[in-house]
């Protein structure tokens, strides 16, 4: 009996495993009509393409719209396999090795990305299409490169904007990646203890200004700032995690800060002067009377030291910012002069507004005794800066406490900040709901908004964002090398449905790379791609693509990916 029952169990389990494990039911949607050509040669058939998406834990939105778009592509006759990948893996394959067909990605709307340089140059210039570069699609156009370089050199904003627009037009024509949506930042806030809530483009409630402006209404004077993970390090010199900088920028001061509306504003710098009006030499005068948290004054020497330090130790986050700088000279106690290699339009917004001022007296001894790696490995538990908050303590994965620096030239109105890491967004939202945290510093799911708003004292802010959800096409591979394919695929992205169904209306259609939230740099007359299935078919038909009886798509005559492995036509350098 026993033997027989084992036998049955084995047979049974194989019966159901060999049958498909996933269960589905055909939906009776109307198939789109495609023109049919009979007797197409098999080798012209377009290979199966892969759409990589993040797994839903990392970002449910990207996962869902990826699946949705893949369905549309299937209707066009492409064999699409959707493969969700864990973020690390996706980032390695997609962003580093460029080993992908297509994948969903989002450029977060950081403050330094308000300046168009990141989108126009950083994600599209051909020099950045190699290993690890941000030009993920592998876009390679001399005409475009020229425009991207030109906008860097022009410092007059109006002039620059025109060039940016030209570049965008060319981008839309070649469509190396498909802009999908700009997702609004939705974050929860508990109004019980604080008022005067300020938030910012791209940063939402995590912005510098939020903490500077909040005013306590009762006895609770420490803002409890929830976040779904802890920071990695309080040493900004070795950190690369953006949340680390959301915390350390409160401790360390910057010469310039980007305002709520996205313009650079002098901060620790009293004045900045483009000495020869050619964008190559800047003279910066510091505010007088600033001190580090240990009481030492902030001087021009510290500023110079900071710039030199990050260059010397190759600080991963800051290194890119100081690249355009040739040298930094101390003019007097409060004045420094920056000499640039070449004029660099985003210098103020992306360099001066990002760099921290590090105390020379603190870091120099470490650099001298332990060298660059000593500085990078330094735990920096005291975190001495000159910013509006001082570090009280940091208990890993428990909490981090900042006290308001009352000597600061523009002190915050709260007594300090408690940064509380949660194990995930769900716990963070629950904490805000329960009034155990005042600010929830992470996107919440649109579906949660309604529930949260019903709760007394809970407010949900929604900020339009200049971050960009998009789909990368790998132009190094067939069939994505063909602009007709990219155009057709882009034309069937159901942006309206994505916004309505996945984002519950909390988002705007992306027409081009620079979103409407970025008011100054956005050009609202660029129309981009709307959902239009028929025109997508037309584009493909005009380019010579054909379909068989099963609605599968075939290359134009004379083209085939059969002799190339995965249709790869260009390797990543």
């Amino acid at each position: 009996m026993v033997k027989r029952s084992i036998f049955f169990i084995i047979i049974f389990s194989f019966l159901i495993t060999t049958g498909c494990m996933s269960v589905s039911k055909d939906s009776d949607e109307n198939e789109q009509q495609l023109p049919v050509t009979e007797d197409l040669p098999e080798d012209r058939k377009v290979r199966e393409v892969v759409m990589n998406v993040t797994n839903p834990e990392y970002d449910a939105v990207r996962y869902e719209f990826g699946l949705m778009i893949a369905e549309e592509w299937k209707k066009l006759g492409f064999d699409v396999e959707t493969v969700p990948l864990e973020w690390n893996r996706l980032s390695e394959l997609g962003m580093q090795q460029k080993d992908f067909d297509s994948f969903t990605l989002s450029w977060a709307g950081r403050a330094e990305r308000i300046d168009p340089d990141h989108f126009i140059y950083g994600t599209l210039h051909s020099s950045l299409s190699g290993y690890g570069g941000y030009n993920i699609a592998g876009y390679d156009s001399e005409e475009y490169d020229a425009l991207a370089e030109e906008q860097r050199a022009v410092s007059d904003p109006e002039e620059r904007k025109k060039i940016v627009k030209k570049a965008e037009e060319l981008f839309l024509e070649d469509i190396p990646y498909a802009p999908v949506v700009h997702r609004d930042q939705i974050m929860p806030f508990n109004t019980s203890n604080f008022t005067n809530l300020t938030y910012m483009l791209g940063e939402g409630l995590n912005s510098f200004w939020t903490f500077m402006e909040l005013e306590p209404t009762g006895d609770e004077k420490y803002v409890r700032w929830g976040y779904p993970s802890d920071i990695n390090s309080v040493n900004p010199l070795s950190s690369t995690n953006s949340h680390d900088f959301q915390v350390t920028r409160l401790i360390y001061d910057r010469l310039v800060r980007i305002t709520e509306t996205g313009e650079p504003e002098n901060w620790a710098a009293e004045s900045i002067e483009d000495v020869n009006s050619d964008g190559k030499t800047y003279k910066v005068t510091l505010r007088s009377g600033m001190n580090f948290h240990d009481g030492e004054p902030v001087t021009a020497e510290d500023v110079k030291f900071s710039f030199d330090l990050v260059k010397e130790i190759e600080s991963p986050y800051f290194m890119g910012m100081v690249e355009p700088i040739d040298s930094v000279e101390v003019v007097d106690d409060l004045t420094v002069e920056f000499s640039l290699n070449d004029s660099f339009a985003p210098f103020i917004s992306n360099t001066l507004a990002q760099m921290y001022i590090f105390p020379q007296h603190y870091w120099e001894p470490i650099l001298e005794s332990e060298g660059a790696s000593g500085v990078l490995d330094h735990q920096n538990e005291e975190a001495i800066g000159s910013g509006p908050f001082t570090l009280d303590y940091w208990e890993r994965d428990q909490e981090l406490k900042l006290d308001t620096n009352t000597d600061y030239f523009s002190p915050a109105k709260v007594d300090g900040i408690l940064s509380i890491p949660y194990s995930n967004t769900e716990n963070m939202v629950a904490a805000v709901e329960q009034g155990q945290a005042d600010i929830g510093g992470w996107w919440i799911e649109p579906i949660q908004v309604e529930q949260l708003e019903e709760i007394e004292n809970v407010e949900v802010i929604s900020v339009p964002d200049h971050g960009l959800y998009h789909i990368n096409y790998n132009m190094r591979r067939m069939p994505f090398d063909d602009v007709a394919v990219r155009k057709a695929m882009t034309s069937v992205i159901p942006k309206d449905r994505i916004i309505d169904e996945i984002l519950e209306g909390y988002g705007t259609k992306a027409t081009s790379v620079i979103g409407p939230a970025n008011e100054f740099w956005h050009s609202d007359d660029l129309e981009g791609y709307e959902y239009d299935f028929d025109s997508a078919v037309e584009i493909l038909q005009e380019a010579g693509y054909e379909w068989d009886e099963d609605g599968k798509i075939y290359y134009p005559e004379g083209k085939t990916d059969q002799d190339k492995e995965n249709g790869i036509i260009r390797e990543v350098e």
């Binding site: 009996m1 026993v2 033997k3 029952s5 084992i6 169990i9 084995i10 049974f12 389990s13 159901i16 495993t17 494990m21 996933s22 269960v23 589905s24 039911k25 055909d26 939906s27 797994n55 839903p56 834990e57 990392y58 449910a60 996962y63 869902e64 959707t82 969700p84 864990e86 893996r89 995930n424 967004t425 769900e426 939202v429 629950a430 919440i444 799911e445 579906i447 949660q448 529930q451 309505d500 169904e501 996945i502």
Partner: protein, 287 residues
């Protein structure tokens, strides 16, 4: 087993209500799994819209959607039904593999003793030292989030319990007179192991097999819950995970309770069945 013994088994079963419930529950889930395509009311991955064209998200249970819908407008009832199949495949595959691997290792170690036993037991010790869930997480991270990788990870670890218990049983059986007699009669090792010892420990293996099934299902759910599951496969753990990341715990009980309860009931049926098997097969406990 003879007819008389069957009768005894049946009578014991009737007396053992929990065992009966266990067998009934398991049979129920197996039927649901086999006929899943006919039971589901909608495609588990399809999104549903209300009459005015809006996405039907987080809808309460209704006659159209028995367990309501998810935040993406998917039918939870159909997802739970579809998840039954995944759970059973994972559970049964793991149970069979764990039982076979665990039993064979135990037989070899227990029978041959000496260095073979020592070696195999040290390996078992090492496997015991491996924290199960983190190991499974790493395995899935290494091999990719597919359900088969999860199964492999579970099997690689779970045989240890079966082996340890069965080995000691083998050791005690080895001492019994009929084994000694078989040895004296010149029976070969292979014959003694598989003809004389194995039949005696198979009942115990079955007990551990049904426990392993529960283990496997829970582990799969846990891995899915931590976000390492197969994102394209509707498993119960995945449904719970979706509910969790959508912050539906407090809002949509219909999304949280059915998959959780399904896991619990199926795993529990495994326990009841194993317990009942144990009582039937081990007269000392059954008296």
């Amino acid at each position: 087993m003879s007819f008389v013994k069957w009768k005894r088994v049946f009578r014991l079963l009737l007396k053992d209500k929990l065992g009966l419930i266990g067998f009934a529950l398991m049979a129920f889930f197996i039927v649901v799994a086999i006929f899943a395509p006919f039971i589901i009311t909608h495609d588990p991955q399809a999104q549903h819209y209300s009459d005015n064209g809006d996405l039907l998200n987080m809808a309460k249970p209704s006659s159209e959607h028995y367990f309501g819908t998810t935040n993406m407008g998917r039918d939870i009832f159909s997802q739970v039904v579809a998840g039954t199949r995944v759970a059973l495949v994972v559970g049964l595959t793991c149970a069979v593999m764990v039982t076979i691997i665990g039993t064979v290792i135990a037989l070899v170690a227990g029978y041959f003793g000496k260095w073979v036993d020592d070696l195999l037991m040290r390996i078992t010790d090492i496997v015991y030292g491996i924290p199960f869930l983190p190991f499974a997480m790493i395995m899935v991270a290494v091999l990719g989030p597919s359900i088969w990788n999860i199964i492999i990870a579970i099997v690689l670890i779970s045989w240890r319990t079966t082996t340890r218990v069965i080995r000691s049983e083998v050791l005690s059986i080895k001492q019994r007179t009929f084994i000694q007699a078989a040895k004296l009669n010149g029976a070969g090792s292979f014959r003694i192991i598989f003809r004389h010892i194995a039949p005696n420990i198979i009942p115990l293996s079955l007990v551990f097999g049904s426990l392993a099934m529960g283990w496997a299902i829970i582990t799969e759910a846990s891995i899915s819950f931590l976000g390492y599951g197969d994102p394209l496969l509707v498993s119960w753990g995945k449904i719970l995970f979706d509910a969790y990341i959508a912050h539906a715990i407090t809002e949509a009980w219909w999304w949280v309770i059915p998959p959780g309860l399904s896991i619990t009931l199926l795993v529990m049926s495994g326990f009841f069945v194993s317990r009942s098997l144990e009582e039937i097969l081990n007269p000392r406990l059954s008296r």
